[in-house]
C-alpha cells in the first residue's frame, strides 16, 4: 500500500498513547523523564528475559503444527520478570498510587510499542501488498496499553503491606491472569482455531475484563481507608 496507509496505522497505534499521556495529567507532573526511565527498565528486563530464554529454553524442534504446551507455559512463566520490573520502576518513584502506576505503565507500554511495532509497521504497511494485519497490530498496541496499566495497578496493590486479607486472593489471581494472558490467548487461538479478527476481539474482551476487575479492586482499596 502507500505511505498514507502507514500514516493511518501509525496514528491508530500512537495517538491513544498521546491522548492518555495528555489527559491523565501526567504531563502536568513533568513525568516525561520518569516515563523514559521506565522505558529503559523495560529494555533491561527484556534483555534479561531474552538471555534467560536463550540459555534455558533452546528452540524446540518438535514437529510442525504440534503445540508444545509445557514449553510455552514455562516460557510464559518467564514473563514474571515483567512484574519485578514494574515493581522496580514504581518503587523508585515517590508519589501517589495513581501517579506511580501511570508513569510505570506508560513508560513500559511506549517502550514496547517503539521496540516491537515500529519497524514491522514501517516495513509492512508501506509494502505493495495490503493486509489487515497492520491495522490489527495497531489495535493490539491500544489493547496492550490498557493491559500494562491494569498490570501496573495489580502489582502496586500486591506490593502494598496494608492490603486487606480479603484482597489477597483476587489480586493474586489477577496477577496470574496478567502474566499468563499471552499464553491463554495462544491457547485459545490454537484450540478454537480463531481467525485473526476474532482473536483480537477475544483479547480485547479479556483485557477489558481484567482491567475492569483491577479497577474495581483499586477503587475499593483506595477508598476503603
Amino acid at each position: 500500500m502507500t505511505l498514507f496507509h502507514f500514516g493511518n496505522c501509525f496514528s491508530l497505534a500512537y495517538f491513544p498513547y498521546f491522548i492518555t499521556y495528555k489527559c491523565s495529567g501526567l504531563s502536568e507532573y513533568n513525568a516525561f523523564w520518569r516515563c523514559v526511565q521506565a522505558g529503559a527498565t523495560y529494555l533491561f528486563v527484556q534483555l534479561c528475559k531474552m538471555m534467560f530464554l536463550a540459555t534455558f529454553f533452546p528452540t524446540w524442534e518438535g514437529g510442525a503444527g504440534v503445540y508444545d504446551f509445557v514449553g510455552e507455559f514455562m516460557k510464559a512463566t518467564v514473563d514474571m520478570a515483567d512484574l519485578l520490573g514494574l515493581h522496580l520502576v514504581m518503587s523508585k518513584n515517590a508519589g501517589k498510587g495513581e501517579y506511580k502506576i501511570m508513569v510505570a505503565a506508560m513508560g513500559w507500554a511506549t517502550a514496547e510499542l517503539i521496540m516491537s511495532r515500529c519497524i514491522p509497521l514501517w516495513v509492512g504497511a508501506r509494502g505493495i501488498e495490503f493486509d489487515w494485519k497492520y491495522i490489527q497490530m495497531s489495535f493490539d498496541s491500544n489493547i496492550s496499553l490498557v493491559h500494562y496499566i491494569a498490570m501496573a495497578a495489580v502489582v502496586w496493590m500486591f506490593t502494598r503491606y496494608d492490603l486487606p486479607k480479603s484482597f489477597r486472593l483476587p489480586v493474586t489471581v489477577l496477577l496470574g491472569l496478567c502474566v499468563y494472558k499471552g499464553f491463554l490467548m495462544e491457547l485459545f487461538v490454537h484450540v478454537f482455531l480463531l481467525g485473526s479478527w476474532t482473536a483480537l476481539l477475544v483479547k480485547a474482551l479479556l483485557t477489558g475484563a481484567i482491567s475492569l476487575c483491577s479497577l474495581f479492586l483499586f477503587v475499593t482499596l483506595v477508598h476503603s481507608n
Binding site: H5, E129, F130, W132, P170, A209, F216, V219
Partner: protein, 565 residues
C-alpha cells in the same frame, strides 16, 4: 468482593463467545484473508521469422487486474479464463490498450468441452499473427488463482453501477490485485543454435540409392513453455526412432542387408519454416563433395503427425511418375493399407509449392525446392490444421476421454507398422518377387513394440520441446542423439545459427516468469480508513476525558458495601 469480581468475569466470558461468533461472521467472512500469491506464467511466443515479427513484443507487467467485463481496461491487466475466452474479448482488450492480458488455462485440458478447445486451437495462429505490444501471458489454474479471478470479476462487474454508498462499502470489502512480473524486458537471444541430428544405415553394395526419413522434433504453440507437441510432431519422432530400431536389426544380418542406404534425419526448427532441414540441405548439396544426398536419392519420406485417426495422407508437390521409386512407394502403401488394415483410409493429396507464401506448408517442400523427390506422410489432410500449432496438442492420460488432439497409441503403432511394412516391401522389392499384399514381415520378434512407442511418446511429451527452449546442450537433444547412436551409424549434429546481419529467425527470452498477485486497495479506501480511525480516536479521547465518570460510578457501587464490613 471476590465473588462479585468473578461474577463480572464470568458474565463477560459467557457473553463474549456468542458475540465473538457473530462478529466473526460479520467481519471475517467477506474479507477472507489471502496472502500474496505467486505463480508461474508462460509468455506468448515472440519471434521474428524472415523479417516478419510475430507475437507479443513486451514482457513487463505491473498493473492492476481486471476481468474483461470491466468498462475501462486501459493500462489494466485483463484476466480471462479459457472457458470465457473469445477473439472479440481479446481484441477489445487490445483496442483499449490494456496493460497486459493473462489467460488462465485449466490444469487438465481434458476437462474442457470439445468446442472450446477447438475454438481456441483455431485462434492460436491468429493471436500470434496480430503482433502486439501488450504482454500476453498464460497461467495454469489453481485454487488461489481462481479465487483471485473470481474476486477480480466481482469487483470489475460492480464498477460503474450503483450508488456512492455501495461503492464505498464495496471498496472496503473487495480486493484489488496488483499483478507484477519479476523478470526484465524481453530481448533477442543472440547466436541461438538449432540442432538437427542425422544418422544412417548403410546398405550392402556400392553406389546404392538412398531413402531419407525425416521428422522434425520441435513443437509449437501459442506459448513455448506450454507446447508439448505430442502428436505434432512427437508421434513422427517416435515412428522414426522405431523404424530406426527395426531396420537396424534387419541391416545387421547379412541375408536381410538390403541394397538401399537409409538416412535418418531429426530436424530442428521445423515449426520455423524448417530451418534445420534447410541448413542440412545447404550443407550437403552446396558445400561438400560427397554426400548421400547428392547422388541417387530414391525418395525422401517426411513423417508429420501420425498419432491418431484412421486416415493417412501422402502429401506430394507433384504426382509421382510411373516407374519411379516414389510411385512404387505409393503403390506399396496402397497395397499394405488395403490388405492388412482395411479400416485405414489412405489417399494422396497433391499441392503445388507456393513460393509466394511466407512459410512452406510441409517439410517435403524443402526437399522439393532442391529437386529431391519427396513427400510427407500425415494423418492430417491440410497443412493448415490447427493441431500442428497448438498448445492443446498434449499427451492425454490413457483411458480418459479427451476433447483435444491426443495420441492414440494403438493407432500410432498401426501407422508405424504400415510404414515399416511399406518400406520393407520397397527395399526388398517384394511385389516384383511375387509376394502377396497380406504378407507381414514385422511379426513376432520383429514386431513393432507398442511399449517402446509408449515410452518414447511419454518421454517426448514430458517437457515442452519448443525450438526456443532446446539449445544444443538440452537433455532432449542429448537423449535423441544417444538413442540414434544405439541403432544408427555416423550420427552427426548439424547446427543452424541465424545470420548476424540479416537473421532469418530471431528468438526472444523471458518466456517463463514468476508472477505475483498483491492484494491492494484503492486510494479511496485509505481515505475511508483515515476517517474511521479519526472517529475511533475521537471516541477514545472522549472516553479518556470522561474516565472520571466510570471511576465515580465504581466508587459509588463499592462504597456502601465497604461500610457494611
Amino acid at each position: 468482593m471476590f465473588e462479585e469480581a468473578s461474577e463480572v468475569l464470568e458474565n463477560m466470558l459467557k457473553w463474549s463467545f456468542p458475540l465473538s461468533l457473530v462478529l466473526f461472521l460479520v467481519l471475517v467472512c467477506p474479507l477472507r484473508a489471502e496472502a500474496a500469491h505467486e505463480f508461474s506464467v508462460y509468455r506468448m511466443q515472440q519471434y521474428d521469422l524472415q523479417g516478419q515479427t510475430y507475437g507479443s513484443r513486451n514482457a513487463i507487467l505491473n498493473t492492476e487486474a481486471r476481468s474483461v467485463e470491466a468498462e475501462v481496461l486501459s493500462r489494466r491487466c485483463v484476466m480471462m479464463r479459457l472457458a470465457d475466452f473469445s477473439f472479440e474479448k481479446y481484441q477489445k482488450a487490445l483496442r483499449q490498450s490494456a496493460g497486459a492480458v493473462v489467460i488462465i488455462l485449466p490444469q487438465n485440458m481434458s476437462t474442457m468441452p470439445q468446442d472450446i478447445v477447438q475454438q481456441f486451437m483455431e485462434l492460436e495462429p491468429e493471436l500470434l499473427a496480430t503482433e502486439t505490444i501488450v504482454p500476453v501471458y498464460f497461467a495454469l489454474e489453481d485454487e488461489e488463482l481462481l479465487s483471485i479471478y473470481t474476486q477480480t470479476q466481482i469487483s470489475s462487474s460492480s464498477q460503474g453501477s450503483s450508488s456512492a454508498a455501495e461503492v464505498l462499502l464495496h471498496t472496503a470489502t473487495a480486493n484489488g490485485f496488483q499483478m507484477v512480473t519479476s523478470g526484465a524486458q524481453s530481448k533477442a537471444v543472440s547466436d541461438w543454435a538449432i540442432t538437427s541430428l542425422e544418422g544412417r544405415l548403410t546398405g550392402a553394395g556400392e553406389d546404392l540409392p538412398t531413402i531419407v526419413l525425416v521428422a522434425h522434433y520441435d513443437s509449437f504453440g501459442v506459448a513455448p513453455w506450454l507446447s508439448y507437441g505430442a502428436d505434432s510432431n512427437g508421434s513422427g519422432v517416435a515412428v522414426l526412432l522405431e523404424l530406426a530400431r527395426l531396420f537396424s536389426r534387419l541391416y545387421s544380418y547379412k541375408r536381410t542387408h538390403a541394397g538401399y542406404n537409409l538416412l535418418f534425419f531429426l530436424s530442428g526448427g521445423g515449426k520455423f519454416n524448417y530451418q534445420g532441414t534447410k541448413r542440412w540441405l545447404e550443407d550437403n548439396l552446396d558445400h561438400t563433395d560427397s554426400s548421400l544426398l547428392q547422388d541417387n536419392v530414391a525418395f525422401v519420406l517426411c513423417l508429420d503427425t501420425l498419432g491418431n485417426s484412421d486416415n493417412l495422407h501422402l502429401h506430394v508437390s507433384k504426382p509421382p511418375k510411373e516407374g519411379s521409386p516414389q510411385h512404387t512407394l505409393l503403390k506399396e502403401l496402397e497395397t499394405v493399407a488395403a490388405h492388412q488394415h482395411p479400416e485405414l483410409k489412405f489417399s494422396m493429396v497433391h499441392k503445388k509449392i507456393n513460393l509466394a507464401d511466407d512459410t512452406l506448408a510441409w517439410e517435403h517442400e524443402r526437399f522439393g525446392i532442391r529437386r529431391l523427390p519427396a513427400f510427407t506422410l500425415s494423418r492430417l489432410e491440410s497443412h493448415r490444421s490447427p493441431e500442428r500449432h497448438s498448445i492443446m496438442d498434449m499427451r492425454s492420460v490413457s483411458g480418459e476421454a479427451t476433447a483435444g488432439p491426443h495420441v492414440d497409441l494403438t493407432k500410432l503403432t498401426r501407422n508405424t507398422k504400415v510404414i515399416a511394412e511399406t518400406l520393407a516391401r520397397v527395399i526388398y522389392n517384394l511385389t516384383e518377387k511375387g509376394a502377396t499384399g497380406d504378407l507381414e514381415i514385422f511379426t513376432e520378434q520383429m514386431q513393432v513394440q507398442e511399449d517402446q512407442l509408449v515410452s518414447l511418446v511419454d518421454w517426448l511429451t514430458a517437457q515442452p520441446r519448443a525450438a526456443q527452449l532446446l539449445d544444443k546442450d538440452s537433455s532432449i537433444v542429448n537423449t535423441l542423439e544417444y538413442y540414434m547412436n544405439r541403432y544408427l551409424k555416423d550420427v552427426k549434429r548439424h547446427l543452424v545459427r541465424a545470420d548476424k546481419r540479416d537473421p532469418e529467425f530471431v528468438f526472444y527470452d523471458q518466456l517463463k516468469q514468476t508472477m505475483n498477485a498483491y492484494r491492494v486497495k484503492p486510494a479511496i479506501f485509505d481515505l475511508l480508513l483515515a476517517g474511521c480511525i479519526a472517529a475511533y480516536l475521537g471516541v477514545l479521547y472522549l472516553a479518556v476525558l470522561n474516565f472520571g465518570f466510570l471511576y465515580g460510578f465504581l466508587r459509588r457501587v463499592t462504597a456502601p458495601r465497604v461500610k457494611q464490613h
